[in-house]
Point group: C2
Chain length 594, copies 2
């Protein structure tokens, strides 16, 4: 299947399309139409079910606009940049690293200093893709990818659209730990929009300026907390470790989560646990596991604080795309906010038994320090306290020297009143570590559509259909009165549609065109079951019946109306259609039309 077929279907059938078409379109923004929004929501619900509810985690919803201080702490203000080169001729902006990668053998131009990229542009006579003018001599600059705005009027403060949902979780850790009653491990999830002001957005849902993330921040005590690895130890996975990527003949490693963790291929058991959970979840929602792998980050790809990182990748249109990332982030995030913020981003870890420890203290005599050091007396006292904690031996001599404002200050040891006390400590404040599974929802949707897109032949006619899982399909069932000129059929069809809706199913009602055309329409949007109300079902003495047609096999069964809602609900929850066929028996297709 060519990607363009799917893009055409996505637009024509209401999955997704570029936004603001009537105003010339806005690069990097897509709108989910009725089918796509329903599909996306089903993916989000399935993710929530697995990563929040079933894991006993908690979901929050934080604002998308956040103040500058948050991104000073997180490092995004300083380092969330792409390399920009603007054409002096036409003004178009480009990713300098991408231009270099396309025109040279350089594989990771983003890792190079700007000057080197400038030199490569000059050396290879790289031209502006928009107008063809040479880009040699144009400066390569860092462009921050956060959308900036102002919060409030005149006395406003700078704000940014969050580049990841995670910061909305990290920044509220001091409160969130209270909801967990101060006890590790606990996990917080969030599903919502994130923003990156891409220099050159790509087509489709792959590189958008606004997109949806589903993130889980698992807060753990690195010394004691272990994941329930046995739950996923036997899950078979295809890994693409960093070593295999570096080797000329590197190959996939087909193994299990348990083995991969045991053998150290996956460095962190927590990362391993969530890779296993994710693999099971991807299979459940319909990712083709033959077109799926976990790829380990190369050393140069990882953030400096991340001990081990793996991406979930799916094959779409011949390319491998990242659809989720799994990172062991250590204490980086909470330490930074602890440093920059006013609150404590730590938890109190109680010892099993109270510990008696020696603690060096000073109690400086301010009536001596005051006259001697004047306005600096407080600073001298503070420096003595710091020194006592850090280097008690410094108080062994008769005088102690501390530095204040770069000046050495000498104090009598007596005046400092140094002593060592035994204190009982019940615990200590520790900074939790973070394990972060982070999913791209739009990219998952794109993958599910690409992997579900199929063509075959039914009744001698070629058809396109989406073999989406019933749990994920935008519409649970379509209802068709076979003809519209028989009130018995249209009345029953109305009633059936209302019943199914009352049972919580997403129902599409269609009475226009031949029955074959109506089936094709539903096939193209992946509706797993079509319910047709025909004359056979309302005539005769028995209970009213309808036919139910399964999408992939085009097989039909005749089901009593009274049992329909329960049967469809069970099919949506994962029951096999084959069982239904065994119970009710297959019937021939209906051909009568208006």
């Amino acid at each position: 299947m060519a990607g363009s077929d799917l893009a055409e279907l996505a637009k024509r059938r209401g999955f997704f399309f570029g936004s603001n078409g009537a105003y010339g379109g806005t690069a990097g923004f897509y709108t989910f139409g009725p089918q796509g929004a329903a599909l996306k929501r089903n993916v989000e619900d399935a993710w929530r079910d697995r990563f929040t509810l079933k894991e006993g985690n908690r979901e929050i919803e934080a604002p998308t606009v956040m103040p500058e201080a948050v991104f000073e702490a997180s490092g995004h203000l300083e380092g969330f940049d792409d390399m920009l080169v603007a054409c002096g001729e036409c003004g178009a902006s480009h990713r300098a690293d991408h231009l270099v990668e396309d025109a040279t053998d350089v594989e990771d131009a983003e890792a190079l200093p700007g000057e080197e990229v400038e030199a490569l542009i000059a050396d290879h006579d790289i031209a502006c893709p928009a107008c063809g003018a040479p880009l040699s001599g144009e400066p390569v600059e860092d462009f921050n990818l956060m959308f900036a705005t102002d919060i409030g009027p005149g006395d406003s403060q700078p704000g940014y659209l969050r580049p990841e949902t995670a910061q909305g979780i990290f920044v509220e850790f001091p409160r969130l730990k209270e909801y967990a009653r101060g006890s590790l491990p606990f996990g917080i999830t969030q599903i919502g929009p994130a923003y990156r002001n891409e220099i050159s957005p790509r087509g489709g849902l792959l590189r958008l300026r606004e997109f949806t993330q589903a993130e889980l921040e698992q807060f753990i005590d690195p010394e004691t907390d272990e994941p329930p690895l046995d739950r996923v130890a036997d899950v078979a996975v295809r890994l693409y470790p960093a070593t295999a990527q570096a080797a000329d003949d590197g190959d996939y490693l087909d193994t299990t989560i348990g083995e991969a963790v045991d053998e150290g291929v996956i460095g962190s058991p927590w990362v391993g646990y969530y890779l296993g959970v994710a693999q099971e979840w991807y299979e459940r929602v319909g990712v083709d596991l033959d077109r799926f792998r976990f790829r380990q980050h190369l050393a140069g790809e990882r953030a400096h604080y991340a001990a081990d990182c793996w991406d979930a990748e799916s094959e779409v249109d011949g390319d491998w795309i990242e659809i989720a990332g799994f990172a062991y982030r250590g204490d980086y995030d909470l330490s930074k906010h602890d440093e920059y913020g006013d609150d404590a981003f730590t938890v109190f870890k109680r010892y099993d038994e109270p510990k008696t420890v020696e603690r060096a203290t000073v109690d400086p005599d301010m009536s001596v320090l005051g006259p001697e050091f004047g306005g600096d007396a407080g600073a001298v006292a503070a420096a003595l306290e710091t020194l006592a904690a850090r280097d008690p031996d410094a108080f062994a001599d008769e005088t102690v020297t501390v530095e204040v404002d770069g000046e050495p200050r000498e104090v009598d040891a007596d005046v400092a009143d140094f002593s060592v006390e035994e204190v009982t400590e019940n615990g200590e404040h520790i900074t939790p570590h973070v394990v972060e599974p982070s999913f791209g929802v739009g990219r998952t949707v794109q993958t599910l559509l690409a992997h579900a897109y199929e063509t075959d032949e039914v009744d001698g006619e070629e058809r396109t259909f989406l073999s989406l899982r019933p749990e994920i399909a935008p519409t649970d069932a379509a209802v068709f009165p076979l003809v519209t000129n028989d009130e018995r059929l249209t009345d029953l069809a109305d009633r059936v549609a209302a019943d199914l809706r009352a049972a919580g199913l997403a129902v599409s009602y269609d009475d226009s065109g031949s029955i074959g055309r109506r089936y094709r329409r539903q096939d193209e949007v992946g509706t797993p079951f079509c319910v047709t109300i025909d004359r056979d079902g309302v005539e005769g003495d028995g209970p009213e019946t309808v036919t139910v047609r399964e999408r992939d096999t085009a097989a039909q069964v005749r089901v009593p109306v009274d049992e329909l809602a329960d049967e469809l609900a069970a099919l949506r929850s994962g029951d096999e259609f084959a069982a239904l066929r065994d119970r009710y028996g297959a019937v021939a297709t209906d051909v009568e039309t208006n």
Copy 2:
């Protein structure tokens, strides 16, 4: 109940709290904690079920960032302002109209020109609420409430965070009508964030800078489409019409939707229909109808294009707050986008029978016009065509005069080749009208919490509880092992919690503290059912049982473990606990604790 009690509970128990507390807080932004996010999501799901699925409407998801052209068309760029006055002394910004309303008898200062507001500030010696400096002499300016940003780098275009979800629907109408196969009426819904850069945000969820809307745009043919009013004709409503608000002794009108529409109190049957649907929905999710009304907009309150507007209002802390608006917007929105955008924001309305109409046409002889008018020949021909359509009689004489660039141009009638043809028309392009029910999700959440907040006495102890409906409550059920030192109980509790989660229920597990304290904790977050695993349930020969306690009555029944998930799911769907009590019989409370 004082609002501060609820705010304290909301923060302590994880419903919602001001964002970015560690960085001094950011006015106008709130984060929904685990309980609040779940409650909010349940409200959204219930809204979706009623206003999208049950109505057969379609939901989309559009980006929150939109380009400037959209807001030029919608009028937000020009008119989405509040009156700002900044203190010359401390720099604080204030809503000028609010200051005037607080200090004078003026009730609707927003409707006054800026100069009058400036004069009122001077006349009444209004001072800066922040620092006390006089504001007399400070300019009152229009402040646009949209958050502005730049889309893309260097060659960027201005963008804004959408001030309402509706524009994301309107702007895609040309595509959305295709999904409806060009046929009216159809409805499009959207639930998502919207933004208003308020000058002075209020506390709580009432006036936020980022908030969630649930909007429905119902597109109709104003000449022929009628709502299914009979479905809600008997719904009893409390109306507060404009006339009653204006009268000194004006009172509520207790009536039904059917009567109010018949008697013209509600001007539009479509608005009436959705008021009825909304009232039923508010009752379903738990709004106290004794603290609820529909208030009609006063003439001065409505946008000029809106024929009839009603707000749903709830009473919270003694104030009436707007929680939804229902507007008949005519063709305003689509006409504006049709005017500003490149695509047609119309639908083709087929006539019942083709109509034969006379159409005047010209076929100007360019071989004559060309030499005569040179570069203006094309403009002259176009002017002739326009004239033929507008005033066919102008072609009765030998010469015809048209104006091009302000100059009269004379053309021989023969050269224009004027004729009148009979053409058959199958239909016409019409601009649909829009009926818009628009709900504030956060304000609904705030209302539900305020109306559910209750205190009483249980076992001689005072308690606070939230009587949230089971469909809406953040947690469906809590599971408690009565003691933790008996593995039979903890094992069964683990199993019960897993079973309930597998059945799709949101489950909280709690084994810490006395059973009474655990009940209180769940009462405070509105968990409708607590499941306790005790010794009686695992000892003896019968099947394993657990107790189920209902929140509001604190009554308990003993239920077999095998039947628990089904029973709780039924209770969540609306079954009465009383029926469960009749079936299983009440039991005494459990008092044993760790």
